[in-house]
């Protein structure tokens, strides 16, 4: 009840979401991405006697290429379904196989020409090639009233990587400066996941409302439903790229109108 009482519910769409708006938005997003990306919907009981709430999760393998100079570029790879947060040694073989199947698509200027011909020949050499299992969560923030992107990234041995390693092996070089300098302490920090209460990295949400308001204003006058249904695709196309989760461009075009 408190969540609705102080808000003046406008008739038109709003960049700020209530939880029920968020649920409509993530369910629409799940439907839109069902053939592209295996996001899953996780339901949880926030407390006894109250309606279930949900968030989205995705686990994805990201192939990060370390050049000899120490610079890196990230390469999007194969998806893994499920919501595993650490890599079980039993899954190691499967992961190794998947890593071999990753398409090696360079996307950074720092990529050295001579090295891109056959990326998997020396797949056992961790110093040359590495991949990360990244666990993404899209969770509602009751404070900011927007979706927040939480994530943790794990090395093949299951160890979680640090913030510095995230900047180096997950964030494309062209984004690093901007994200490091965002806000008071940079755009990425660690805090407790609001549902799981364990540490996750997250993209700071305090600029999401201004961003989505700009989109809303520049989009003509979409009816409320379509703005809400395209909310996650639009937001994620801005927020996710920097940390390796992308939205197919045709979807952005299709949903942005």
């Amino acid at each position: 009840m408190t969540s609705e009482t102080h808000q003046h519910r406008q008739s038109g769409p709003s960049a700020r979401l209530s939880y029920s708006d968020f649920e409509v938005a993530i369910k629409a997003f799940l439907h839109q991405t069902r053939h592209h990306t295996p996001w899953s919907y996780v339901e949880y009981s926030p407390r006894r006697g109250q309606p279930l709430q949900g968030y989205l999760t995705l686990t994805k393998l990201i192939h990060s290429h370390h050049t000899s100079s120490g610079a890196t570029s990230t390469i999007t790879g194969t998806f893994l379904t499920g919501t595993t947060t650490t890599i079980d040694p039993a899954d190691q073989l499967l992961l190794d196989e998947l890593a071999e199947q990753l398409e090696d698509i360079p996307d950074g200027d720092d990529y050295e020409q001579g090295e891109e011909t056959d990326p998997v020949v020396e797949n056992s050499s961790a110093t040359t090639f590495d991949y990360l299992s990244v666990n993404y969560h899209i969770v509602f923030s009751p404070s900011y009233q927007v979706p927040v992107l939480y994530f943790n990234a794990y090395r093949p041995d299951g160890a979680a990587i640090s913030l510095e390693e995230i900047y180096e092996s997950l964030v494309p070089e062209e984004w690093r400066g901007a994200i490091r300098n965002a806000g008071l302490n940079g755009g990425i920090s660690q805090q407790d996941h609001p549902v799981l209460n364990t540490p996750y990295f997250y993209m700071h949400p305090c600029e999401t409302v201004p961003l989505m308001e700009t989109i809303l204003q520049n989009n003509g006058s979409p009816n409320g439903t379509s703005f809400l249904e395209s909310y996650i695709v639009t937001w994620l196309s801005f927020t996710g790229q920097a940390i390796g989760v992308s939205v197919p461009t045709d979807m952005v075009a299709a949903n942005g109108q």
């Binding site: 408190t2 009482t5 949880y44 979680a160 008071l184 302490n185 364990t198």
Partner: protein
């Protein structure tokens, strides 16, 4: 500078402290039994702010000690303590709330906290508990509280760097005047009514923290009380009215800074006066 002497409650809260007995993890001292380190720390402070004095004590007792501040961590009864929570909140959750669940009667003082310098539990605790990390986290809470009150973080982001630093420095140096001289503007929202009150509710047994949007006024335009907020969040623990006052004791109550306030307290007043320095009113639910 804003005068803050007219707020005796805020001052008493600021001066609240907890005696802690720090015990070294015996598996990390090569079998040596080291004397514990006793210290009285402000409830409003953070473990990261006292790490350096613990390290000094440790170094004095143990030859060859090397560990950087980013590796030290603490537990109480085997549960790692979140360094980004104020110490008073940690004590209320891990000592007092747990005591209410286990029906213990002894007050767990001094609070016996175990110190570790190895095997940092990165899956349970945010990494790198340095002073800088703690300051960053503290400022992110201040920002979030500002967002709740104003719908944007402009008030904090428009503060000069030195004004922002004054908040942290005041906390770090335990200077009530320095901290509240700056913080008063934030919590009072420059005299305008907040959109929402920065409140978090902690239920027992590691339930997700409750943080609903709570407006200062109820549907009748009356100031919302703590009881109304708790009832909205967990109605079975906090009935709206005590039907037969005196005939049945309440199921649950809340702790703020270790005390049980009247549930009829005006929530806005509580949020302005009894918040921790991070600007959040942290309500720890205890079962009676």
């Amino acid at each position: 500078m804003h005068t803050t002497s007219e707020n005796p409650v805020a001052r008493v809260i600021w001066e609240g402290s907890i005696p802690i007995q720090f015990i070294w993890d015996p598996t990390e001292t090569q079998g040596r039994i080291l004397e514990p380190y006793f210290v009285e720390v402000p409830r409003c402070s953070y473990l990261s702010l006292i790490t350096s004095q613990i390290r000094r004590d440790f170094a004095a007792k143990r030859l060859g000690f090397t560990s950087d501040e980013g590796e030290m961590w603490f537990d109480y009864q085997g549960i790692p303590l979140k360094w980004h929570y104020p110490i008073g909140l940690l004590f209320d959750i891990h000592a007092l709330q747990a005591k209410s669940i286990n029906k213990e009667t002894m007050l767990p003082l001094p609070w016996r906290v175990t110190v570790h310098c190895q095997n940092f539990p990165g899956e349970k605790l945010i990494k790198n508990p340095t002073l800088k990390s703690c300051q960053d986290y503290f400022m992110s809470m201040i920002k979030e509280a500002d967002y709740l009150r104003n719908g944007s973080t402009k008030k904090v982001m428009n503060m000069s760097k030195s004004d922002q630093t004054q908040l942290w420095e005041g906390l770090w140096s335990k200077s009530y005047e320095q901290f509240w001289g700056m913080n008063q503007k934030l919590v009072s929202n420059d005299g305008t009514m907040a959109r929402s009150l920065p409140i978090r509710i902690y239920l027992p047994e590691n339930c997700p923290i409750i943080q609903d949007l709570v407006s200062p006024l109820d549907e009748q335009g009356q100031p919302r009380t703590l009881r109304q907020i708790l009832h909205a969040a967990v109605p079975d623990l906090f009935p709206l009215v005590d039907v037969d006052v005196g005939s049945s004791s309440p199921v649950a109550s809340v702790l703020i800074h270790g005390i049980k306030p009247s549930l009829e307290t005006d929530a806005t007043w509580a949020a302005q006066t009894m918040a921790y320095p991070d600007n959040f009113l942290h309500l720890v639910v205890v079962i009676e």
